[in-house]
Amino acid sequence: MRKADIVTAVVLLGIGILLDIDSLRLGVGWGMEGPQAGFWPMIMGVGMTIGGVIVLMGAIRRKGVSRKTDPFIPREAIKPVLQCVIPAALMVLFTEYIGLYLAAGIYLAVYMRWIGKHSWVTVLILSITIPAASYYVFDKVFLIPMPQGSLMGWLPF
């Protein structure tokens, strides 16, 4: 837990410093139209930098959550969490190529069958009807187009 706390604090501190630098580039003074573009973000950047340093020091000195010795993700939970994150990320990746509905259908089917061990009948019915119904509601009725995917231009949806 301490390691994760330190890493997060360092990342946030880094973002704070990035903000400070870019704010200075934008100008933090008084310009033609009042306070310049960097003025407000500069306050936020300074806040993040100061807060980040203090959080980091606390983490190094084992305060707050860093006092806990248990790991950030319990060993036995790593697998289920990855089984959840990776398919979701893959669905988004596939959406770029084959469109959201097809990707979602595959994703639903794979997850329900692989993780949930549900019967093929349930899996097929749900993974076909849910994307189809969503397609009808979003693309047809409300005319909100969902991503089509770069490879699927030849399909009507």
Partner: protein, 504 residues
């Protein structure tokens, strides 16, 4: 009593069988679009406009406004049950609504939300009917410095009282503000914090952030604890209704406060979402049970929901009186008015009293019909939760992806959603408070703009924020609430010191 005469006439128009039926259809449809993330009252109204060409204008506006009422009611359902807001103004209710559902009080949380909506809407309707000019005048006295003071107060209410580590809260809040600033600065036109990356130019949308931080983050946490949604069984019983009514009486001040905040914020465009956050912050600040907030306190459901519906209702007021829509949905309805050949503005009251008063009366009938409809619907939505986790989870992820994409029709938002999901997971475990961060992301642009506008007005002097009569007390209240942890710490130390002195 001119107004009562008009209202009576309006009610007669709104309660003809045809108009009642139209209203009912609108509300049912509204609840459905309200529940689905990515679809909202504005989309719903937009697709119904062609249908309204064949109707008399009064029935048409009743249909659209009823859909709007339905969407206001429906937005909270997924917030409470799945931690995913169906509408932007239903974000603040997840802080306490979802923990309630997790404790097994989903039915109670839903009922509480519906009744809070009803009361908030009632305030809005009363205002719309009787006090329109007074409130409009009052809200016009709020310039940038005053609005900024209100935001400071909201922040201190939410930040000063919450979070285990104040420094982590500070960092998270600043991160939220910084994310709101990413993209094009609308004052100077400069690109900020994009580092030459095109996807960053559009900035971050808070809906995408919420779906990721709360919706996906929660799923990852649930998976870690074992593959099931624990305790989220939402049954709706008559006992719940009784208990909620009891709670309404107990927390009547919170409900009334939420309604007033909502009604007042609703005048400003896009006011419903900030209003719900403000009401939540104030409810927490003013409560004697502060530590219960965020863990499933019923008052944490009442306040934002009453504000959301109050704001939604009062958003119609500037639309019909001035032709300025207070919300995206009101803007679509305004478009409808123009298509039907009606010119919004003061003359509308004289030229078409039956139309205006029919619309106003439909806010009254819509409230009652809406409450009955959502109470009838709720068990059906709650039943969805009984589906096995491995079926429910991927469906939720799919719906989240649709919701994130539909915000701006950008694929990059769906990726942001996944990243925010992982951030949400990590932040929750490391005890960074996400509510202030989210509030910063929601209010970021508005806060920065009012801050800069105020400084332009005062030519750089910060004293403008301490200007009586409105800004000064707000700022003092904000400072006191913001420093409250410090004050109470000092007080405790003095007490123990006194005790030690007494002993010695």
């Amino acid at each position: 009593m001119d107004i009562f005469g008009h209202l009576w006439m309006g009610l007669q128009i709104a309660t003809t069988p045809f108009n009642l039926l139209v209203g009912l259809a609108g509300i049912v449809l509204g609840v459905i679009v309200g529940v689905l993330p990515g679809l909202g009252g504005a989309n719903g109204c937009a697709i119904l406009i062609p249908l309204t060409f064949v109707m008399p204008p009064t029935a048409a506006v009743i249909l659209l406004s009823s859909l709007y009422w339905g969407a206001l009611y429906g937005g909270a359902i997924t917030s409470i049950l799945f931690n995913i807001p169906g509408e932007p103004w239903a974000v603040a209710v997840i802080f306490d609504g979802y923990p309630m559902a997790k404790k097994g009080e989903g039915g109670k949380a839903l009922t509480a939300s519906f009744f809070a909506h009803f009361i908030g809407g009632l305030f809005g309707a009363v205002l719309l009917t009787f006090f329109a000019p007074i409130v409009a005048e009052f809200s016009l006295r709020f310039g940038p410095p005053e609005t900024f003071s209100v935001m400071v107060l909201t922040f201190s209410a939410l930040v000063g009282l919450g979070g285990k580590s104040p420094m982590k809260t500070l960092v998270a809040t600043c991160l939220g503000f910084a994310m709101a600033a990413v993209g094009i600065d609308i004052v100077s036109g400069q690109l900020r914090f994009t580092y030459g990356l095109t996807p960053l130019m559009g900035g971050f949308n808070f809906i995408v952030a919420v779906i990721g931080l709360f919706g996906l983050g929660e799923i990852f946490l649930t998976v870690e604890e074992g593959l099931k949604m624990e305790g989220v069984k939402a049954k709706l019983t008559f006992k719940d209704i009784g208990e909620v009514l009891g709670a309404v009486v107990k927390y009547w001040k919170t409900v009334v406060m939420g309604s007033i905040v909502g009604v007042w914020m609703g005048f400003k465009p896009g006011g419903a979402t900030p209003a719900s956050f403000m009401a939540y912050g104030f409810a927490k600040a003013g409560s004697a049970e502060k530590d219960q907030f965020g863990k499933g306190h019923i008052a944490g459901v009442f306040a934002p929901e009453a504000a959301a519906h109050g704001a939604g209702t009062s958003a119609l007021l500037p639309m019909i009186t001035l032709g300025i829509p207070g919300s995206p949905t009101a803007a679509v309805i305004l478009g409808g008015l123009m298509i039907w050949g009606l010119q919004p503005g003061p003359m509308l009251f004289k030229d078409k009293p039956d139309f205006v008063w029919g619309l106003i009366a439909s806010t009254w009938t819509g409230l009652f019909i809406g409450l009955v409809v959502v109470l009838a619907f709720a068990p059906a939505f709650a039943a969805v939760l009984r589906a096995p986790f491995a079926i429910l989870m991927p469906i939720i992820v799919f719906v989240c992806a649709m919701g994130a994409y539909a915000v701006n029709n950008r694929m990059i938002d769906v990726w942001y959603m996944i990243i925010f999901g992982i951030i949400g997971y990590a932040f929750k475990k490391l005890e960074y408070s996400m509510a202030p961060m989210l509030l910063a992301l929601v209010l970021g642009d508005m806060a920065e703009q009012t801050f800069r506008q105020s400084l332009i007005m005062s030519q750089g002097s910060l004293w403008i924020f301490l200007k009586p009569p409105i800004a000064l007390p707000l700022m003092i209240a904000g400072a006191v609430i913001g420093c409250w942890p410090l004050i109470s710490m000092v007080r405790d130390r003095m007490r123990t010191a006194k005790k030690a002195a007494a002993k010695a």
